[in-house]
């Protein structure tokens, strides 16, 4: 549905999006994750045919951006990062205006209007002047405007920013619902949001894609490893490390403190069983034996903290 090839944006001599490529199949809800200034908004603006790319190609629903930018615009419903609307207009007036410039046939307008007003819960502010709406309502008007022309693709730049918790839940539910019959790209800084809403996540840092996968696959690490912490009593550090390292499925042993070890393991369950057996056989006491799956936060921080994106992480990324 959305094909992005080597998309690049340069401002003066600075590349803010660096040869980004990805593909979003029909019906997928894709999350864009990345620190401030990573290039999420810039990428989205290029896909929406607002900013001309410096290089690269974009295809939306089979329409090539370079050949038919208006065709691309017609197929996308876009909610910008800062939802700026005309303050002097009334909600309904604004939506009618959007319908007209989006090319919705005149006789379909009442039906579309009723649909988006219902979908975005705007019934009670329909006649209100936009300038007097609260932030949450303005966000919903923006979303309604993005939906008015029945676009197959939705691009939402931080759709829940600045909303109260109840609104956030409602908007998320709405996005999940819309995800059933739309292809969606949304950007966010809220990691739990990604896990709730998106089937797939792209992590972008400094204009590059550094990770791509389902939230689960990202959490269990790209290499599929999880961490097991072991604390043993009565064991000699060096030999214990050797024993633990010899267990099948243990990729790496790290000595945390005297008697404490962290194992990077492939199959946590089997490894814990073996650790228990080995300890019993040698007369060690197990004080702790726990497995932890890194949170998306950990993955995010590890991938986007510049110093750590060196050899090891880079290898993991290419693995992903």
């Amino acid at each position: 549905m959305i094909e992005v090839q080597d998309l690049t944006k340069r401002y003066f001599d600075r590349e803010v999006v660096k040869s980004v490529s990805f593909f979003v199949p029909e019906g997928e809800v894709l999350g864009f994750l990345g620190p401030n200034g990573a290039g999420k908004t810039t990428t989205m603006r290029m896909i929406c045919a607002y900013l001309p790319p410096t290089a690269g190609s974009v295809k939306v629903a089979g329409v090539d951006l370079a050949q038919d930018p208006l065709g691309v615009r017609a197929r996308i419903g876009y909610l910008p990062e800062n939802v700026a609307l005309y303050p002097e207009m009334r909600v309904e007036e604004f939506l009618r205006f959007r319908a007209a410039i989006e090319g919705v046939p005149a006789k379909e307008v009442p039906e579309r209007l009723a649909y988006v007003v219902d979908r975005c819960m705007l019934g009670d502010v329909q006649r209100q002047v936009i300038g007097t709406l609260s932030k949450g309502y303005r966000q919903r008007v923006g979303l309604a405007a993005a939906l008015i022309h029945k676009p197959p693709v939705l691009i939402l730049d931080e759709p829940t920013v600045g909303l109260d918790p109840r609104q956030i839940v409602k908007i998320r539910e709405l996005i999940v619902e819309l995800g059933r019959d739309h292809t969606v790209i949304l950007s966010t800084h809220i990691l739990p949001e990604v896990e709730q809403v998106c089937r797939r996540v792209l992590i972008i840092d400094d204009g590059r894609i550094v990770a791509d996968g389902t939230p689960e696959s990202l959490r269990t690490g790209f290499s599929g490893l999880s961490a097991v912490t072991v604390e043993l009593e009565g064991a000699d550090g060096a030999s214990a490390a050797q024993v633990l390292g010899g267990i099948a499925g243990v990729e790496k042993v790290e000595v945390l403190a005297d008697g404490r070890f962290q194992l990077a393991v492939r199959d946590g369950k089997a490894v814990r069983r073996e650790v228990f057996r080995a300890a019993v056989a040698r007369g060690w006491h197990i004080l702790e034996l726990s497995q932890s799956v890194p949170s998306l936060e950990d993955v995010f921080l590890r991938l986007t903290t510049r110093e750590e994106v060196t050899g090891e992480a880079a290898a993991e990324v290419s693995y992903a």
Partner: protein, 246 residues
């Protein structure tokens, strides 16, 4: 076409829901009322030669030009500058409309508003007509001249509004540009080289209005403002394409 209409409609709505529009309208009426009073006083003077009275209203006084040079930038300053300042341009240019349509919509709305400002002056024509015999040919031509002048001035205003993000800056640029556009033609009176004189006479807006007010409709008086405004609109589209992401 429907999209362009929607753009123009929205822009006109924005005009009439902003206080500035009413300030401009009031100032415009006030100055034109003063000019009208001058005309009446002048015509009441027994020493006055018989002449078409509305020639004074249509560009025959400095007030006319001062008014236009100030009013048009105020009308046009908001158009694109405000869209860029608030960021609404992003939503506008992610709808399937071209930069050309956006510029055209803004321009037409500004021009229509400009024509609307002139509407009340028809009352003066009516008043004069009830006291004296009026030749309606020159009156119609005079309004045509004003409309053409509006095309040219509005296109300059749209252009500076595309360049500047700040309305006031856009207005000042527009004023400066319009002073240049207005003054270029006046150089005609200073040069003697017939070639230059001929070329500059094309651009002489004072004579432009004077001809129309006399009832002379010359095609070159049509071509100059129309083609120049086309040029400025083209520049506006290019400017908008270049600056929209900034």
């Amino acid at each position: 076409m429907r999209k362009l209409l929607a753009l123009v409609r929205r822009e006109l709505l924005a005009y009439f829901s902003s206080p500035l529009a009413y300030v401009v309208l009031t100032a415009f009426l006030f100055v034109n009322g003063f000019v009208f009073w001058l005309i009446v006083a002048y015509l009441n003077d027994p020493r006055t030669r018989a002449m078409a009275p509305l020639r004074l209203l249509f560009g025959g006084t400095m007030y006319f030009w001062l008014l236009l040079l100030f009013v048009v930038p105020v009308i046009t300053m908001r158009l694109l500058a405000e869209e860029r300042r608030t960021g609404t341009i992003e939503l506008l240019l992610t709808a399937p409309v071209t930069e050309g349509q956006v510029v055209m919509g803004k321009f037409l709305a500004a021009w229509i508003f400009y024509l609307f400002l002139w509407l009340p002056t028809l009352v003066y024509v009516g008043i004069l007509a009830s006291y004296a015999t009026i030749d309606f040919g020159p009156v119609a031509a005079g309004y045509l001249g004003i409309a053409l002048l509006g095309l040219l001035f509005a296109s300059v205003g749209v252009f500076t509004s595309a360049l500047a993000k700040n309305q006031i800056v856009a207005a000042i640029f527009a004023f400066a540009a319009l002073v240049v556009v207005f003054s270029v033609g006046l150089i005609e009176n200073l040069v003697t080289n017939p070639l230059w004189k001929n070329a500059l006479s094309y651009m002489n807006l004072w004579d432009h209005m004077d001809d129309f007010a006399k009832g002379l409709v010359d095609t070159r008086r049509l071509i100059y403002p129309v083609s120049l405004s086309g040029f400025f609109l083209y520049l506006s589209v290019k400017a908008l394409e270049a600056v929209k992401g900034r």
